[in-house]
Amino acid sequence: MRIAPPRGLRPRLVVAFVLVAALSALITAALTFRQARSAILDRTQNSAVHDLRLQIDSLAPNLPDDPTDTDLRTFARQLDRASGSRGWHTAVARDGGPLIGTANDVSGALRDATESGDTTFYEREEHADGPRLLIGMPISYTDRRGKAEKPSGLVAYAVLSLDGERADISALITAAWAGAVPALAFAAVPALFAARRVLRPVRQLRTAAEKITSGALDTRLDVVGKDELAALTGTFNTMAAGLERDDAELRRMEANARRFAADVSHELRTPLAAMAAVTDALDEDARSGTLPPDTADAVLLISGETRKLTGMVEDLMEISRFDAGAAVLHLDDVSLRTVVHKTLHLRGWREPDEVITELPEEDLRLRVDARRVDVVLANLIGNALRHGAAPVTVRATATRESLVIEVADEGPGIPDHVLPHVFDRFYKADAARARSEGSGLGLAIAMENVRLHDGTLTVANVPDGGAVFTLTLPRTPRQEDQS
């Protein structure tokens, strides 16, 4: 199984901290242990060698010049008896011969080393009975005539148990562990504190960044200290200030643009109101035949365009109201059937030559702003009649949550490159094409009206020709602003 590395900064910091602490504790413990162990062993060794030398020096003169095996056995027994608290076992070998005495299992290497010189050798070995120290000490004695010492060819061997020392050393190991484990545990505490200290500004930065993301551009942080995190916090503040400035500037420009559009249409309305009041009179005169023909044409042109201009300004005003957030829903309980048929009736669209309706058997009650739904439907159907081909099918289906109304025409469909833009304001599908009867805002206004109802409006082409607009309205609107 793979162990995933910790993800957050805090666990990573703590783990790193504890690892460093563990490593240093381990190294310290290992070095101390090594030193202490060799010190213990060296002391034991040195004192054992020293004691053995003393005993041999005091007992060796008693040996005859040419000692027999019995003499040697006695000598070894005497040495054993003099071991005191060390409890060594000794044996003596002559000229590499067999060991005489109580010591056994002396390794060949030690014996070879000892017999070739007159130096004391020792070695530590693991034995079945526990760790042992083996000492090989050549015996040399001064003869009675006080001549120089000479090697006797005799070597004394001593075997000491190191059980006591081993116990001391294990106690050391235990002590090292006993020290290291709490130290490690304690290391986690400062690690946590350090992580907290380092991470607090990081966390604050994160919270602040989230606030900015959610739109609170006036979020700023206090810069504490002079470290890298403080510098980062400073940079963050500068960035936030920049964002806030740009945002305010953008909003101001956008508001200006909207206000301009609203103001322009507002200003256009007064002269239009004067002109619109007389267009009917103009039409009447132009059609009466009393005017010269080209004057009559000009008059009809003026009155017709005045009406279009009036419609366009009204649409602009409507869009401005949406942009300013001033459009409100006036919800009412209405029947789907009535809404659809009133829309057709008011526009003079005939069933089933121009429009075919496929409504659910059971009449649905809707809670909508009927005027706005009428605007949407009239727009979709009017568009389909103008750009598609009759008959236009209005098909409504209802689920528990929503009402879906499809408006489909029998025309050639909408070109693919136009589809994404049909709801754009003043979008001209073909720059060279003569302008249509609409203001170019119809579908944009329809879209805004649908949005106001928390609904959706989409457009697609059906495979066998024709465009279909799909209007989805929630059956229980979120907003209730009217009794």
Partner: protein, 232 residues
């Protein structure tokens, strides 16, 4: 032909509307301020007032209130939608209907006719000689077009009167706002339902004991309004 008083500050709009109305045979008096309008109301005795809400000096709202204080002449607001003074406030101040500028003379004419018809509803529905009907404290005389409360004649504006007559002709039947718009105001089905609400509010303030707990014109939540039933 009805005599029309136009109160509109913009000279071009004034000229245009007067031109359009004159073509339809109306005798029209046009003034530029509310003060002049109130004077002309007395001197000219119009059958209908066309009133712009955005006026210099005394604003249209105040004019509306003053006219209602002394007269039951039908008032049609000539308003540009989105103006600072909302049309609803004008309706609440006693106007009977509104036309959104810019509007052709035909549209203005149609609105005026509808409002004037309101004053003289078709008499055929009830038939002559039925006499006044008593409902609670109200006494409705469909022939004389007079409504009395506890014997005292109520000064109902034309739209208020017609709405009351319409609703009380079918007691306890609920009408949706859209229906009322079509039948009382002769607007399209999708007209501004605020017309109905404002008129109901004004009507209640005149006929109900406690307009906040109406008994004559009751709200049917989510559907519309109905006349009665009166509490036993």
């Amino acid at each position: 032909m009805p005599r029309v008083l136009l109160i509109e500050d913009d000279p071009a709009v004034r000229r245009g509307v007067v031109l359009g109305l004159s073509r339809n045979g109306h005798e029209t008096e046009a003034v530029g301020t509310g003060e002049d309008g109130l004077e002309a109301l007395v001197a000219f005795k119009p059958d209908l007032v066309l009133l712009d809400l955005m006026l210099p000096g005394m604003n249209g709202l105040e004019v509306c209130r003053r006219v209602r204080g002394t007269s039951r002449v039908p008032i049609v607001i000539l308003s540009a939608r989105g103006d600072d003074i909302d049309v609803v406030v004008g309706l609440e101040a006693g106007a009977d209907d509104y036309v959104v500028k810019p509007a052709g003379a035909a549209v203005i004419e149609a609105r005026m006719r509808a409002v004037l018809r309101r004053v003289a509803p078709a008499q055929a529905d009830t038939g002559p000689g039925t006499g006044p009907t008593r409902i609670g404290d109200l006494e409705i005389d469909r022939d004389a077009l007079i409504v009395r409360k506890n014997g005292e004649e109520l000064p109902l504006a034309p739209s208020e009167l017609k709405l009351l007559l319409f609703l009380s002709a079918a007691p306890e039947r609920t009408f949706s706002r859209q229906q009322l718009l079509e039948d009382v105001w002769e607007h399209s089905y999708y007209g501004d339902a605020r017309l109905v609400d404002a008129c109901v509010m004004r009507l209640r303030s005149k006929i109900e004991e406690d307009p906040r707990h109406p008994v004559y014109v009751q709200t049917v939540r989510g559907f519309g309004y109905r006349f009665g039933p009166l509490p036993a």
